[in-house]
């Protein structure tokens, strides 16, 4: 049987929920291990999608960046690692300690959204960047521009990470992988996958990014001992030398 419908069904890029994870080998051509085994198991392809956009939606803090660090450490084959519009100045000694080669790190500070999109497009499609991490935060990027970035990442076979505010979680997006994150005061990261390739989304997990801190005894601030009695007052001023 060779009807057009059959041909369409046999197309490797067409995902069918009924066939579940059957199509995995053909679709998951290239992924990058996340470095967090619990997250790898929840992703159908088994890692960050190479040559596509990964959206991380959440507040601006170091949580998301720490999630990316193990992968960024691995990606050093190509000349550049690009940080596009970071909200704060990255800390060089900390990055070196994390295993990132500072000579490869390229930091770009565009002035507006237009320049940001242009830079992202150029760096992604150039093919000489291992990864591009873009902090778009509250900037509203249109669906068309997202699609263009996704295509540029595909063209340059470059891993694109787009950090956006959580407010965009409800909007549709062409990105290959979308994860909402939330940092816990304990240092853990609450992740919820809202879109991924190759299967159903909706998985949620809690990652501990600093396992070495798990051992310590954590007491919430409310439970810390408080001096309920009044603080001791200072001695009265010396009468012989009153200070005017």
């Amino acid at each position: 049987m060779n009807t057009p419908l059959q041909q369409l069904l046999e197309h490797p890029a067409l995902w069918q929920a009924s066939r579940g994870r059957e199509l995995k080998p053909s679709v998951a051509a290239s992924v990058i291990a996340t470095g967090h085994p619990p997250l790898d198991t929840r992703l159908h392809d088994g890692g960050w999608p190479q040559g596509a956009t990964t959206e991380l939606l959440g507040p601006i803090d170091a949580g998301a960046f720490r999630l990316l660090l193990p992968t960024l450490r691995q990606l050093q084959q190509r000349p550049w690692l690009v940080f596009l519009a970071p909200p704060y100045m990255p800390n060089g000694p900390a990055l070196t300690a994390a295993g990132i080669n500072l000579a490869q790190l390229l930091i770009i500070k565009p002035r507006n959204l237009r320049e940001l999109l242009w830079c992202a497009n150029q760096t992604l499609s150039s093919g000489s960047c291992a990864a591009v991490v873009t902090w778009a935060n509250r900037l509203a990027i249109g669906n068309r521009d997202l699609r263009r970035l996704q295509q540029a990442a595909h063209q340059g076979n470059c891993w694109h990470v787009l950090l956006r505010s959580e407010q965009f979680a409800q909007e549709a997006s062409p990105s290959a992988l979308r994860i909402v994150y939330n940092s816990k005061p304990t240092g853990d990261l609450q992740l919820q996958i809202i879109k991924q390739r190759g299967g159903w989304s909706g998985q949620s997990l809690q990652l501990s990014l600093t396992p070495e801190l798990q051992q310590r005894c954590y007491i919430p601030p409310q439970q810390l001992p408080v001096h309920l009695a009044g603080m001791p007052l200072l001695a009265a001023r010396n009468r012989r030398y009153p200070h005017r």
């Binding site: 990055l95 930091i107 770009i108 000489s128």
Partner: protein, 403 residues
């Protein structure tokens, strides 16, 4: 000994071509005559430009102002596959540049200049250089008016009833010398090749410069782009002929309101690719604001360096993008955003955390020089196997290699 062979390139319309090239479309639209002052210095510049251009064919290029170039081509005929192919290459090249040219081949420089005046020049179809007999024959038939004689001599010779060079050459030299002076005899000896006629050759200029003039002006950026591409094409050809790379160039735009605009384009990695040059120029053009129409467009560069052989991987599919791609990307970003918008971090030996790092501008690592290589191999020879050798480079931070 190889018989010298001279190719004369005469540019009868140099005054016009030097000024008007690049204006073909305009000339077609507005054919009305327009008188403007002749500019000698521009002709000199144009002739110098052509001499530099002709240097690609032969190292023996001799300019004869105001409008003639002499090329000694006996040594390069084999390289270019014969006289016909060489002349074809020169003719088509000049046509592309927008110059009209009359050319002729002869065995002496003076004869080549004389031949270039004859109305239908020698047919281009000559596959072989003319033999000595043919040369002498055609010299015999050359009209006296085509020789470099002053009007008085010419008039006197005509009164004698002479009209062809052959008749003049047949006269006894001693008598001619008595009547017309020693100059004429020397000239005739040089013309027929009896006495040597050394020429002064150019040394190629160490920088590239090409300009175009627009008497009517280019008023929009969109009109500038194709003209700039054409000049960049000339630069590209210049670089590939000389086996040079360029690490930066500068556009000078002279406007009608006596203002000048300069667009400086720096490349972090010296190269010779036309498309890169053009896309970087376009990025600069986007920011350009013109207050008046552009009268003169000049492209100039003296940042030339010998071309490094391009390394190609043996297995293309196994390797990533080329080494130069990363620098092209950097130049593009810098061209659009400015140099201060992109930087990398560099660690410093400081105690205070806030001073531990600083922003560093991105530079291309200098190509590994022979000195570095020698140092590296000497260090490697001294080191015991397994010992770490530090090899210095311009790249920030030390790279370590283990032998």
């Amino acid at each position: 000994m190889l018989n010298p062979l001279w190719l004369c390139l005469r540019f009868p319309q140099l005054a016009l071509d030097g000024v008007l090239r690049g204006n073909e479309a305009r000339a077609g639209l507005a054919p009305e005559l327009e008188a403007s002052e002749r500019e000698k210095h521009r002709e000199e510049k144009a002739l110098r430009f052509l001499a530099d251009w002709a240097y690609q064919f032969t190292p023996a290029v001799s300019p004869h102002p105001p409008d003639t170039l002499l090329l000694e081509i006996a040594g390069c005929l084999r390289l270019f596959g014969g006289l016909q192919k060489l002349r074809h290459a020169i003719d088509s090249g000049l046509q592309q540049l927008g110059f009209t040219c009359a050319s002729a081949v002869a065995h002496t420089p003076k004869a080549a200049i004389a031949f270039s005046h004859s109305a239908p020049p020698q047919p281009l179809a000559d596959t072989f250089p003319p033999s000595a007999q043919t040369f002498l024959q055609s010299l015999q038939h050359t009209p006296l008016a085509h020789l470099a004689l002053n009007p008085k001599q010419l008039r006197q010779l005509h009164q004698l009833g002479l009209s062809r060079a052959g008749e003049l050459l047949a006269l006894p030299k001693a008598d001619l010398g008595k009547r017309f002076g020693k100059g004429l005899v020397t000239y005739l000896e040089k013309l027929s090749g009896e006495s040597p006629d050394p020429q002064a050759y150019i040394t190629p200029s160490p920088c590239f410069e090409s300009e175009m003039h627009f008497p009517h002006g280019l008023s929009t950026v969109a009109m500038l782009a194709p003209v700039m591409r054409r000049l960049l094409q000339e630069l590209h050809q210049y670089l590939s002929r000389r086996q040079l790379y360029c690490s930066g160039f500068c556009w000078h735009l002279l406007l009608f309101d006596k203002q000048a605009r300069h667009l400086r384009i720096e490349l972090s990695h010296a190269q010779g690719q036309l498309e890169t040059f053009y896309s970087l120029t376009q990025l600069q053009l986007e920011k350009l604001v013109l207050t008046a129409a552009v009268e003169t467009l000049l492209l100039r560069t003296d940042q030339l360096e010998p071309a490094a052989p391009d390394n190609q991987p043996l297995f293309r599919e196994l390797s990533g993008p080329g080494d130069s791609d990363q620098w092209i990307l950097l130049d593009k970003l810098r061209g659009r955003l400015g140099a201060e918008a992109l930087f990398c971090l560099q660690l410093q030996d400081e105690h205070l955390p806030e001073l531990r790092q600083r922003k560093a501008a991105l530079r291309s690592p200098a190509t590994t020089s022979a000195a570095t290589l020698a140092f590296r191999s000497a260090a490697a020879a001294q080191a015991a196997p397994g010992q770490t050798v530090f090899s210095g480079g311009i790249n920030p931070g030390l790279r370590t290699t283990t032998v």
